[in-house]
């Protein structure tokens, strides 16, 4: 024991480790920070989980377009701990996005981005962008059908950028089509480029946290005045500051470790996201969907009014990024307390409701045809032969059911037709079917007269009230 102590004393003397790290760990923090201040460190904890699990996964991953999918199958189904490791990497990514989001909301609501911490906010916005890029590139590395088609969707979006769009698309694909050069690039982005940037920006972010100190919990009626704030803050720390380690750090550790355990438990219970089919671009049966953190944006892309897309696809992310980056430049002083900043609270609530609504919409994706729809059962049709039954068959075969629901079966793209017989006359239906509509193809060239009649007979019979009456008569 004595020897160990001596060895440490020698090591510490030659490296000056405790002299350098001690003051950093014990830097004074303002009182009363409490549990609201743990989300930044929880993001960092999640990032560490990503680094560790990512490095482990990289020891078995094969960044070859032709073999990555097989490697993933092997990691998931054969390799010891492979399944839980992939799960941890997935839930770690989810935790990182979630914690970064909450951390951002907290710093926004408490006005912590105001003077002198503007750069800290800006670096945080860059880190959030990098985190989302990690999520997107990581999802591609699964290199299943979703991965391949997400790459193409990304290239198509980049292609909408004026002037340089086609170059960007080529750089994303690593050529002019998805192929051998595509995956290696994403692998390099995901494991070298972006993590290197994240390390650098986290370093700067933390450096500035130490430099300017943790923002004190806001008090209503104590606005930030750039002329006096620094002196006032230094005085506050002198009077009431307490060492970060361990007075405040213990909460970061408690919450951070809880998050880490949560990641492992979720990975253990739910496992990683299922791999979809092989990355073969000739398999047309694909339903490309982004992971949950981008699902709301998938909904945005579906809901855009005609003609605005090219602008929105390019300008929306750009504007959102700029607004976030410039926020502290334009609003760097004044009240910090949320009780005096109703607009800030309203913006957060609106953003959460907006993204939440889009997220639910993305989950249900009612705009997508439901290719899993099966022919309607005779019980639903109320006929097993004759024109109504023929019409029901046509309703399925002509693809109507992919977009229209009848008695709970079918897609949701178009109106529910369960009771259409009560709503539209045969003439109105004919016009709609033959000419199409807003979002409906015209079937004029596709239906023979007797087919149209059968379809009309079926649709006219979609009248629950009349069906109930006829049942009673029977």
């Amino acid at each position: 024991m004595h020897l160990l102590k001596k060895a440490w004393a020698w090591f510490d003397d030659r490296t000056d480790l405790s002299k350098v790290l001690g003051p950093i760990l014990r830097h004074p923090v303002p009182p009363g920070t409490g549990w609201k201040y743990v989300f930044g460190s929880a993001t960092l904890f999640s990032f560490f989980v990503q680094v560790v699990t990512g490095i482990a996964l990289a020891t078995a991953y094969v960044s070859s377009a032709g073999q990555a999918y097989d490697a993933l199958q092997w990691i998931t189904n054969k390799a010891a701990f492979g399944n839980i490791l992939r799960g941890m990497h997935y839930f770690g990514a989810s935790a990182m996005v979630l914690m970064a989001g909450i951390h951002m909301i907290r710093t926004f609501l408490t006005g912590s981005y105001k003077f002198p911490r503007e750069m800290n906010w800006i670096l945080g916005v860059v880190l959030l962008g990098l985190t989302i890029l990690m999520g997107f590139t990581g999802q591609l590395l699964r290199w299943d059908q979703d991965g391949v088609w997400s790459t193409i969707v990304a290239a198509e979006q980049a292609g909408r950028v004026p002037l340089i769009g086609h170059w960007l698309a080529k750089l994303i694909l690593g050529g002019t089509t998805v192929g051998g050069a595509t995956l290696s690039r994403f692998f390099a982005y995901h494991v070298f480029f972006i993590p290197a940037l994240i390390f650098a920006f986290v370093g700067l972010h933390l450096f500035l946290v130490l430099r300017h100190g943790i923002s004190e919990p806001p008090r209503a009626g104590h606005p930030v005045d750039p002329k006096t704030y620094k002196a006032w803050y230094a005085d506050l720390l002198k009077r009431e500051g307490r060492p970060f380690w361990p007075d405040a750090a213990w909460r970061d550790v408690v919450f951070g470790v809880a998050v880490v355990i949560g990641i492992v438990v979720l990975a253990w219970i739910f496992g990683p996201p299922q791999l979809t089919g092989p990355p073969d671009p000739t398999i047309i049966e694909a339903y490309p969907r982004p992971d949950w953190y981008l699902l709301w944006y998938f909904a945005v892309l579906a809901q855009l009014p005609h003609g605005t897309e090219s602008y929105v696809i390019v300008l929306a992310p750009l504007t959102a990024g700029l607004v976030l980056l410039l926020l502290p430049i334009f609003f760097n002083k004044g009240e910090r307390s949320p009780s005096r900043r109703p607009w800030a609270v309203a913006i957060v609530i609106l953003a959460i409701i907006g993204i939440g609504t889009l997220w639910i919409a993305g989950q249900r994706s009612p705009w997508s045809p439901d290719f899993s729809a099966r022919p309607l059962s005779p019980e639903t049709v109320h006929a097993s032969n004759g024109p109504i039954a023929d019409g029901a068959q046509l309703f399925y075969r002509k693809g109507c059911e992919y977009c229209h629901t009848v008695s709970g079966q079918g897609g949701q793209r178009g109106p529910d037709l369960t009771a259409v017989g009560d709503r539209l006359t045969a003439d109105q239906m004919t016009i709609r079917i033959l000419n199409g509509g807003n979002n409906m193809p015209a079937y004029a060239g596709n239906l023979k007269p007797q087919e149209l009649n059968a379809l009309l007979a079926f649709l006219r019979s979609r009248d629950p009230a009349a069906q109930a009456n006829s049942k009673q008569e029977k």
Binding site: E156, K170, T177, G180, L183, T282, I283, E285, P369, P441
Partner: protein
């Protein structure tokens, strides 16, 4: 530290600082040009185009649309299945074929062919096209892209093309 030490004049000090920064930049450029060139090579290399046979002419029925697949122009050895591309081929007449890209012009998802409805439908955001590739419904801004097709020696051939970017 005494800045007046060593008989270095302020001008000389300025020169040395600029020299160091300039040399640093030069070194970075020497390394950077090949690195950037390598990263940007997809923009520098020209696009090869090849005629690929997708089947015998008589294996396609008139008025029918079927999926065909072919190898990309010059797939890398490790591309595996990703070196393939699919197209929807429609026989219009004895020697007339139309080949549509499977990529929806909205955001590139693979459209499906519904033979009874004579429609292409996209699973992502609900784009729909008629059998001639014209937009029937949904968000696509333009018709399905077509590949050049020709008939040679009883074989239908498609000219490989870049993935269409709208």
């Amino acid at each position: 530290m005494n800045p007046d030490c060593g008989n270095i004049t302020p001008q000389r000090r300025k020169f040395l600082a600029r020299l160091s920064l300039g040399l640093g930049g030069l070194g970075a450029a020497f390394v950077g040009v090949p690195v950037l060139g390598f990263l940007l090579r997809p923009l520098l290399s020209s696009v090869a185009e090849e005629w690929r046979s997708v089947g015998r002419t008589d294996s396609f029925q008139q008025g029918h649309t079927v999926e065909v697949s072919f190898q990309d122009a010059s797939p890398l050895a490790w591309a595996g299945v990703t070196g393939k591309t699919a197209a929807w081929l429609r026989r219009e007449g004895d020697h007339r074929f139309t080949a549509f890209s499977v990529n929806c012009t909205h955001l590139g998802c693979p459209v499906r062919w519904l033979p009874d409805a004579d429609l292409f439908m996209c699973p992502c955001h609900g784009g729909v096209y008629y059998k001639n590739g014209e937009v029937a419904a949904g968000p696509p801004p333009k018709p399905l892209t077509q590949y050049p097709v020709r008939v040679r020696g009883g074989l239908v051939e498609i000219l490989t093309r870049p993935t269409p970017i709208t």
